[in-house]
Amino acid sequence: MPENTRLHFTQTLRFKLLLASLSLVMIPWAGYHYLSEMERSLRQAQEVLLLNRAEVVANMLATNDGDWLADDSVTEAAPVQSLYVHPLRSPPAIDGYDEEWFDLKPKSRQFRANATDADAVSLQWLAGFYGDSIYIMVEISDPILIYPQSERALSRGDHLLLALPGPSGKSRKYRIGTPAPGWVNVVEYESNRQQTAINGEWQETEDGYRVELRIPRPLSAGHLSLSAVDIDEAGANPVGIASTSGWDSNKNLSRLVMPTMQVDSLLHGLDGKSHRYTVLNRERQVIGRYGKLDQAVDTNTLLSRLLALLSLSAGDRELDARKGVGRLDGPEIRRSLAGEGAVYRYKIAGSKSLILSAAQPIMVKHRTLGSVVVERSTQEILLLQQSAFERLLLISLILFIITGGTLLLFATNLTRRITQLSNKYSRAVSRDGRIMEKVQAVKDKDELGELDRSFSAVLKRSTAYTGYLESMASRLSHEFRTPLAMIQSSLEIVREERAQGSGSSYIERALDGTRRLNLILTRIGEASRLEQSLQSSEKEKLDLTAFCSALCDGYAITYPQVEFTCRLSTDPLWMELSPDLISQAIDKLVGNAIDYHQPGSAIIMEVENDQSEAVHIKVKNKGPRIAESDVSKLFYAMESKRENNDHQIHLGLGLYLVRLIAEFHGGSARVENEADGVCFVITLPYRS
């Protein structure tokens, strides 16, 4: 019988099937690859689209008159900041109010003194040009307004700082301020001299003040810088300066992008929500710009937040290297200026999204006048990909749970059936290989049912064979009896004939042999007769203590030459027993003990009632011990470990019968080696 040890979980069928279901991980993996492929093809499609769009815009610009490139190009060494100056249809009134600027307001640009501090002073830039004047409207957010005492000490209160290109590379700077809302004073930074070419109006707003300025175009020469100096305490140092660019040297000043009316209106007719259009001249200077890049990332779902956690760059500030730059550069731009449309992909620092940039040349009469750059963020594709990936993961997870659960259930069912099968056949065959009960094969139509059926068929055949072997002994003894009777009766007749004659000693010996043969045959039949009689045996309630006491007395009569010692408990032990069978079992043990006991030593019989609801009947004798290897086998049929070959017949059935009788009473039999002898124990269940 296989030992029913519990399997570790990792060894079970369940675990193995669960492991197999892990192969479902391949689904998201394959899906990821598929999505990457999809992203690539989408991006390619977008590139083509973007290129086409750029071409359309370029063609539109090219069909216009060539004079849209009115702005004279200034050769600059490096790309600098640019400020967009919108072309105006009419000159606004310098009144410090924003009515005329209302349409342009969404296109204003904000500059902050401090990027991280929301309360720091900030400057909202909006500019336009009409004729020879540049109009600037700035709104400064500054909760604490400090006005200087007089127009001579503008630096002691909130004021603006205007820098215009000056001689020998150095800028010319002006302070713009006022002691009270109204017309502003413009004074030179160093000399404090009044400047009258520039004029403007100062008005307070809800969260600060607004200044409207007019600057003659020649004065700015296409470059300027404007800063708001925030002073929160009269006469104290500034707490913050919001500036459009550096102001000390001409190089640092922002370039004013002043497109012609046509370019501007054409660009404004385009979709500016997700595309950014930039028109460049031959020097790659920006002469028109419209639209913005869509970079808003919607990170609302749990999964996307989880994904965002995984990517390290998330949360960093995005830095668009091309935003507000006065002069652009890039491989696609250079190629477009060489007369060929091209696409370039660049990354915005701090963001996962890529920017696709398509540039097309503006060709007028086979001359490249400039380039149109159309940019678009791949954010949309990324979002699409991300949501697809999220759904994919979700589906995979559900799939995994369903499949894993199904497999687990299936494996559990399988395991249960296999365990049942195993238990069924373990029960069917006893420890010593006897077939205990008939098994009924299940009707299941799968391999396990097949296995069960083939097992039960094997067992049936084995049962038949075992039955054949078991009946062999009794059939043999039966078959032997007749020829033995022939010999015996013949011998007896011969003995009768020569009753008085000599030589009859041989006949006696032969008869003795037949007697012994008869005894052997009787013994062989004994086991099977006992097994038969067990089935019809009836148990009765009797006191085991009194019963054993009587047995001891009986043995004293039967074996007067041997000393018996009885150690019985004083309490009566009422049990359901078959007295005949129990006495037969003890007879065997006592007979065995007498055969092996050391002459002169006592044979000890004990009845012990231990606390674990069992009664032990022990028969001990001093004498040779039993080899440990034989201890477990001794109670099996035909196991005899007798060494001295005496004249008695030992078929090894005695202890087998003891075991059968003990098991018939729901108990067991065993043998233990003691210090100087052996102890045979019959254990019977006892309920007090």
């Binding site: 003894s477 039966h478 078959e479 009896r481 007749t482 033995l484 009777a485 022939m486 015996q488 009766s489 013949s490 007896e492 007749i493 009768e496 007697r515 008869n518 005894l519 045959l521 009787t522 013994r523 039949g525 004994e526 007769r529 006992l530 038969q532 009689s533 019963f547 009587a550 047995l551 001891c552 007395d553 009986g554 043995y555 009569i557 039967t558 007295p579 005949d580 006495s583 037969q584 003890i586 007879d587 006592v590």
Partner: protein
Amino acid sequence: MAKKQVAIIEDEEVIRNNYIDYLSRQGYSAIGYANREQALTAFTKALPDLVILDIGLADDIDGGFELCRDLRNRSNTLPIIFLTARDSDFDSVAGLRLGADDYLTKEISLPHLAARIAALFRRVDAMEQTRPSESLLTRGDLQLDRDRLTIQWKQLPINLTVTEFWMLYALVRHPGHVRSRDQLMEEAHIYVDGASITTHIKRIRRKFQQVDSDFNRIESVYGAGYRWNA
């Protein structure tokens, strides 16, 4: 006085002839039959004085049982002995229930067989004589007739086989003394194992209990044997 006629129905020729030879020497007129038909043909003419039967007659597995039933139908008093190789309790109970006077296994020696035959004839003779038996043994409520092999318990007859009778006789002869299994076997002229003696004693007790449900005179002395309690 004419010789007693003993019929032996036995399919094994050697054994049959041996029995015939031996019983002839003992002064009986022994006739052998190999199967049921032969025996029945002969018995329709005249019944023998005693029949020794084997159960299995060649291919006729239970032929002996059938024959026993036929014979009992013809005569209630005809002594019948089963002599067979079958030693199971089932067979012996079946045989005795059909009205056989004894059930013996083939390992019995010829002298012991002869003793049983003699005992049975003695009983038949005693039955025929009307004068009271001389070998009566009385133990309280028990009356034992050694010649007729009959027993009366509280004036009620109990039907024992020859083997059972001898076993009981061995117990009763020395009331209060334990007779071991070996002693009982010796007295009953049989050689069996301990368990068979237990079966015989059980059967005797049951026969007593059939007429007296309170019967408990035969005591098992476990570890030693049995005892008749006066």
